[in-house]
């Protein structure tokens, strides 16, 4: 029996409530509020209480997908990354870096946003970076 309680932060809105993930034998089984957290002081809303449910959803993507002739096929990471890299490279060569846009996400971490915009600016070479702060 392995049972862990991992402190984390709710990813459902900008409030940033402290949550505790309940992990049993490597599976996320529930969410509790962090009772001593400065933001939420032990409370959560209906979304926060059910934070683990979307993580465990059977609808989650479990593999990268590549569309061939209008249908998705499961691919390995190496294949999928290569397909994407080839497309970006050829489009940048043909139309220039400003023909590519990158939408970063208000739902991923700071580190990932940092890398995503770094990817756009340093790898592609464009400032066409935006996210849904307006929405």
């Amino acid at each position: 029996m392995e049972y862990k309680i991992i402190p984390s932060v709710c990813s459902y809105c900008g409030t940033g409530c402290g949550v505790l993930f309940k992990v049993m034998n490597g599976r996320l089984v529930g969410t509790l509020p962090n009772k001593t957290h400065p933001v939420n002081e032990g409370g959560l809303c209906i979304k926060g209480w059910n934070l683990h449910e979307y993580v465990n959803s059977f609808l989650r993507l479990t593999s990268p997908l590549v569309k061939v002739k209008g249908r998705f096929h499961k691919a390995t990471w190496d294949e999928a990354i290569q397909v994407a890299a080839d497309h970006f490279t050829s489009i940048v060569e043909k139309y220039g870096p400003d023909s590519v846009g990158v939408l970063v996400s208000a739902k991923m971490t700071n580190e990932e946003n940092f890398l995503a915009q770094k990817f756009a600016r340093a790898v592609i070479g464009t400032n066409n970076v935006d996210h849904c702060a307006r929405l």
Partner: protein
Amino acid sequence: MREQIRSWLESGEMDAFLGFKEVEGHPIPHLFSKANLAELEGLIVNAPRYPLETLVAEMLQSQPGMKLGVLGDETTRRALNVLSIWNQVSPESVRVIDPDQFAPEEKGARKVFRVSEPGPVKLERGIDNRLGVDAIQALDGDDRVRRWMYEFQKCIKCYGCRNICPVCFCKECSLEHQDLISTGTVLTEVPIFHLVRAVHMAGRCIDCGMCEQACPADIPLRLLYRKVNSIVMELFDYENGLSSDQPPLSVLGEKVVLELKPIH
């Protein structure tokens, strides 16, 4: 206390012990086991109450027959009794370790959860969470209903009171029954949402107070359920967590001892 738990874990008398560990200044529930005995040094007892009983039930359902220790007190024992009456845990699998049984130098002071001072508006329109059942009963009926409805209206429908409750375990919950309580609006139906929950607390609530602590709107739920407990005590002579029978509203009973209430 640490030594005692260490020896239990080492001897196999206990497969694991559920207590608290300090993580970056926060007491976080933690499962200590033989595999990580060194972690016992970080065991702390001064923590706000978490529903450890629920974790215990989850673990035992996943691995029946496991022998568990859990940091707790009288309330924990009562919660486990209720769960065992409802066949959620087998009592012989769990041992409650009360830090009060040990010498004071071995344990930290139990931190009482912050009770916020009610503001003047709450005193005027709502209900002071610190009040007792009698103080509410001293109010006249109209005033009582107005105050309760004020409190219930603040509900943001997080279901936190139910989710954190150590004795709430039903897979299907009446609060989510769409024919009973309408869904889809943040102002839940007042007062049925809270009264349905109160009805379900009859014969169960062990007065741990976690519902109220989890309530983002500070509704005096503990007070409401205390009244439920006292009704159950007065009418049925049943004390949740101490009586070992099925709760009175779940069984028919052998005879009728109650009298009808007259109209006037």
